[in-house]
């Protein structure tokens, strides 16, 4: 059985990504995973704090590089998407260059890039999304995904600015927001476009309820890590995205 | 008959002109080159050409049936081989 070291660059107030990714990847039958985090200070999801957080990226990559991870995930979606279209390619490229310059073979992914990758894998063209962000930031996420070629048919912003509070958003609130979306034209639902807003227990049941593929920033991240590690997609109970390949028409 | 080839660029024109002033020295063109020919020695005075040193010491493109016996700050001399 292979072992994959996953490096996570995490906003300091995030408690969810280090919960949901191990829970997801721990169900993989063919590999074991360990998770190694490095934190960037960030409490409020505001443009100023996001910019300050991005400036800490190089230090985090230095720390994680020492642990020689197989895959590194930059686990803050809105930090990249709020900068503007193409940012995840740019940042993934900078991190990859930083690691490669020191001779590291670590592969680099980001939750922003992972969501795009996973939506294309579904494949989804018209999507609906639930975000915890304030409206102006949520609009930037919508614009970002549209620049990647998706049509956002409907979206909700729960308008929680304090990132610690985002980690405590109750599942029924997220489901209520999802139920209020106009999903008729949607190919897929992103039930949490945020690695901090808890949603893992909702994904499978929401998929049953709405009758379309349901993704979250966490399931997309897990998908991207499995792809990077060249492992088969085979995680039960977390939506069709992660179900065993061949079990889904894609 | 020794033959000296000099590339026809502005800096080198005076090299061909000065060479051609000596008795019996023939100057022709072959493609982009001046061909400086003589039965006896070809002697070119550097000061008469007015060439800067960098130009002077890079003006020879080719040499047939001759030998450079002097190429210094004073003159370039090619004797038949």
């Amino acid at each position: 059985m292979s072992h994959v070291r996953v490096g996570l660059v995490v906003p300091s107030s995030n408690v969810t990504v280090e919960t949901e990714l191990p829970a997801l990847l721990g169900r993989h039958p063919g590999a074991t995973f360990s998770f190694h985090g490095s934190r960037m200070r960030m409490a409020k999801v505001s443009p100023a704090q996001l910019a300050a957080m991005n400036a800490q990226r190089e230090r985090c990559v230095m720390e994680l590089g020492d642990a020689d991870p197989d895959v590194l995930l930059y686990a803050c979606l809105v930090a990249l998407m709020s900068v503007g279209p193409g940012e995840h390619q740019r940042v993934e490229g900078l991190i990859a260059e930083q690691l490669a310059t020191g001779g590291s073979g670590t592969l680099v992914r980001s939750s922003a890039g992972a969501l795009v990758e996973a939506l294309r894998a579904v494949p989804a063209q018209r999507i609906a999304i639930v975000t915890p962000y304030l409206k102006p930031l949520a609009e930037k996420v919508v614009t970002y995904l549209e620049a990647e070629g998706f049509e956002v048919v409907d979206w909700r912003a729960l308008e929680v600015e304090d990132n610690r509070q985002v980690g405590c958003i109750q599942g029924d609130l997220v489901m209520a927001a999802a139920r209020s979306l106009e999903l008729i034209r949607a190919d897929a639902l992103v039930i949490s476009a945020c690695v901090q807003m808890p949603s893992l227990p909702l994904v499978e049941s929401a998929e049953q309820e709405f009758g379309l593929p349901v993704l979250s920033a966490a399931t997309a991240g897990a998908y991207s890590i499995l792809k990077a590690a060249d492992l088969p997609i085979d995680i039960p109970g977390a939506g069709s995205l992660l179900r065993r390949e061949g079990g889904l028409s894609r | 008959m020794s033959r000296l080839y000099v590339l026809d660029v502005p800096e080198n024109i005076s090299v061909a002109n000065v060479a051609g002033q000596s008795d019996g020295v023939q100057v022709d063109k072959l493609g982009p080159y001046f061909v400086i020919e003589h039965n006896g020695p070809i002697v070119i005075d550097r000061r008469a050409t007015g060439c800067r040193h960098a130009v002077w010491y890079s003006c020879v493109a080719g040499l047939a049936d001759g030998r450079i016996v002097q190429w210094d700050k004073d003159a370039l001399r090619v004797d038949p081989r």
Binding site: E58, R59, V61, M62, G65, D66, D68, E97, Q98, L99, T101, G102, G103, S104, G105, T106 | R3, Y5, L7, D8, V9, P10, E11, L30, G31, P32, Y33, R52, A54, V55, S58, V60, A61, G62, L63, A64, R67, I68
Partner: protein, 208 residues
Amino acid sequence: MNDLSGRHLARGVDHAAFPTFNPVGTVRFYRDVLGFPVVHSICAAGWGPDDHPDFIHFFFDIGNDDRIAFFYYFGLPRPSSEGKGDAYARFGDSTPDWFVRSRHLAIHVDSGDALMEYRRRLDHSEWPVEMQVQHETIESIYTHDPNGYLVEVTRALRPVTPQEDLDANLTIDALVDIAQREGHTMDDLLTRKAELIVERAPSWEVRV
């Protein structure tokens, strides 16, 4: 084979990289004196098989989107400054100066005014111009940077002509021909070049 095969695809210098033991002087020289903006930097460590210390790899824009880059390794002892040379390599006294100076970086400018502007900037700094020279078709100024690297700034006195490219190719063909002979000399080269001129002359009648 594809449609790129045989084409000259390179687009200048992405970057030329050098080690430094004097990052402060290096930044002063390139950024503050010459005015080359810092355009990129990377913080890294030896994560691969090579156990090198933490280091910074930083880049200055030398125009035309080309860059000069430096590596600064934390805690790496400065090598001996005995002998001739620079932060990368030192040579004994028996090595001639012209050989030590042969490896250098030349930065292009478009005009004599631009060249003189760089001369002015350098002359007002700790690294004044050491030499100003007119070569065949170029004019250059030279100084050594804080690491001992020889830096040239140069401008063309006139454009290079097609016949000079042709001549250069003849020189190199002649050099390749004679350089494998034991004891080859400049005389061999000039003789071989004259042969090549005569050989190829028929094809120039139309083109030159």
